[in-house]
């Protein structure tokens, strides 16, 4: 579980992403952000360097 993020740090991320949030919406997002971080942490399981992504580039298809 990642360390909790401070409101100040979260505000910096929100600003960096170009979002302008009302105070209420900011609180909502702040409350939900730990879930995003948990999902991201779960995705960071070790995997082999040959584990390909599911979406495939196919030049002939274009």
């Amino acid at each position: 579980m990642p360390d909790p993020i401070t409101k100040e740090a979260f505000a910096a991320i929100v600003a960096d992403r170009g979002l302008t949030l009302s105070p209420e919406r900011f609180e909502e997002f702040y409350a939900l952000y730990p879930l995003v971080r948990e999902i991201r942490a779960r995705l960071r399981n070790p995997r082999g360097y040959d584990a390909e992504p599911a979406s495939i580039f196919s030049p002939g298809a274009f």
Binding site: P46, Y49, E52, P53, I56, F57, S58, P59, G60, F62
Partner: protein, 472 residues
């Protein structure tokens, strides 16, 4: 002995088939030459001398028994050290993978072995095919055989240096933004980035899944064609592999280009990039050669080169970071500084920018496809200038000094680099020939015709001996 090492695959294979040349004798000549010269070139990370001699003896016995496997039988080759080799270290030129010994060959390693090649060893690379030219790795960087004080280009630097110096008859590189064509250009050899999907990527350490290509680096385009015959094959376990008919690459070669239409996006090197005068003059001279061979030169316009480069950069950094994140967050000290910094850039790319780069990539592919309904191939320089001093490549390259190669990783097109002359300092100049998807045979034909019409392939680097100390 040196003469043997400067044969092309086409020449050597004819002599081997006629039993005038022994694969054992040929392999011994290469191993002796590596022993004599590689200390000053650093082309190899590992020389597999015992395996090479065993491969050569097997090839010789099979050929003598009338069981020829084709034109690569008994041909000594080298593999960039990101091609997995079963039981043989595959280090990516990195402390992180210093003890990495794969259990299985890469598909391409296996196909070349099945074609009867002799493995001389594993060659130097920019760390993980991205971090170079670096001096903080467990092995030194390769040097340019035309002048060891100069850079060989990268990332397939060791293969480029080895083939140019006569330390391998051919070799394999990989290319995510130009890493076959760039060292081919600065080392004065031919290097083909095949169409994405034509050559299996399975078992090659990835840098960027959707931009990585494996391909041959040889003295001539004809030799690249002979290598491609063994390499091009559908691999159902590589999700990017294409199930397409495989042409007879060598049969497609012919010196006549009558009726061929060559597209020239002159804005790439006249306005988009600061291209050196000698490179520009060499391209114009090459186009004259093509006119004389019967081709028609057609001006074409594409998006600015920077648009292709931006798209490629966002994709390659994102995909590279996804692969390396687990190692970078835990043991960043095991990377050299350049690889660590370049890959870490991926941590700064936002998800929507990556996805939008993939949308723009679609537009650029369609743009090129539309232009290529009016022309058969596109010709550009490969690099804006010949090789700078060793270690100056990062400072030398910039937005205004970009390679011309990355655009065609973005589009997945087949793209060949072949020498187009020499600078006043005696360093190779080069051009790039780009084709429609899966028309790799035509690209090789266009390169071959130029090589036959000019004398550049007759000149080999003269390597002083010993020069290692003087080159420091």
């Amino acid at each position: 002995m040196t003469d043997l090492c400067f044969l092309t695959i086409a020449e050597a294979s004819r002599q081997i088939a006629a039993r005038k040349l022994s694969p054992v004798e040929l392999t011994r000549a290469f191993l002796e030459r590596i022993e004599r010269y590689d200390a000053g070139l650093n082309a190899y990370i590992l020389v597999t001398a015992d395996k090479a001699m065993a491969d050569a003896r097997r090839a010789e016995a099979e050929i003598m028994a009338g069981r020829s496997r084709g034109p690569l039988h008994g041909i000594p080759i080298a593999l960039k050290d990101i091609y997995n080799t079963a039981g043989i270290a595959t280090t990516a030129h990195s402390a992180l993978f210093k003890d990495h010994v794969p259990a299985e060959d890469a598909v391409t390693t296996r196909l070349l072995a099945e074609a009867g090649t002799v493995l001389l060893g594993k060659t130097a690379t920019w760390e993980f095919a991205i971090g170079g030219t670096s001096f903080d790795l467990p092995w030194p960087p390769a040097r340019n055989p035309w002048n060891p004080k100069h850079d060989p280009g990268g990332s397939s630097s060791g293969t480029g240096a080895a083939v140019a110096a006569g330390l391998a008859m051919a070799g394999m590189g990989t290319d995510t933004g130009g890493s076959i064509r760039f060292p081919a250009a600065w080392c004065g050899i031919a290097g083909l980035k095949p169409t994405y999907g034509l050559v299996s990527r399975r078992g090659i350490l990835p840098l960027s899944f959707s931009l990585d290509h494996g391909g041959p680096m040889c003295w001539t385009s004809e030799d690249c064609a002979l290598m491609m015959q063994a390499l091009a094959a559908h691999d159902p376990l590589d999700p990017g592999s294409a199930d397409v008919p495989i042409p007879d690459f060598a049969a497609a070669l012919s010196p006549s280009l009558k009726g061929l239409r060559i597209g020239v996006p002159r804005h790439f090197w006249e306005t988009d990039v600061d291209c050196g005068a000698e490179t520009k003059a060499a391209i114009e001279a090459a186009l004259e050669v093509y006119r004389a061979l019967g081709a028609e030169i057609v001006e074409v316009t594409l998006s600015p080169l920077g648009t292709y480069n931006d798209t490629g950069t966002l994709i390659s950094r994102s995909e590279a970071y996804a692969i390396h994140e687990q190692y970078l967050t835990r043991t960043p000290e095991l990377y050299g500084a350049i690889a660590r910094q370049r890959i870490s850039m991926g941590a700064l790319v936002r998800a929507p920018d990556y996805v939008n780069a993939l949308r723009l990539r679609g537009e650029l592919i369609r743009e090129l496809a539309a232009v290529m309904t009016t022309v058969d191939v596109i010709v550009t320089p490969t690099t804006p200038d010949p090789a700078p001093l060793l270690g100056e490549v990062a400072a030398f390259m910039s937005k205004r000094k970009s390679l011309f190669s990355r655009a065609f990783n973005v589009t997945g097109s087949p793209a060949l680099s072949t020498p187009s002359g020499f600078s006043s300092d005696g360093l190779p100049l080069s051009m790039q020939i780009v084709g429609r998807p899966f028309q790799d045979d035509l690209v090789l034909k266009v390169g071959h015709a130029y090589e036959k019409a000019t004398a550049w392939r007759d000149r080999r680097p003269v390597i002083a001996e010993p020069f290692a100390a003087a080159a420091q």
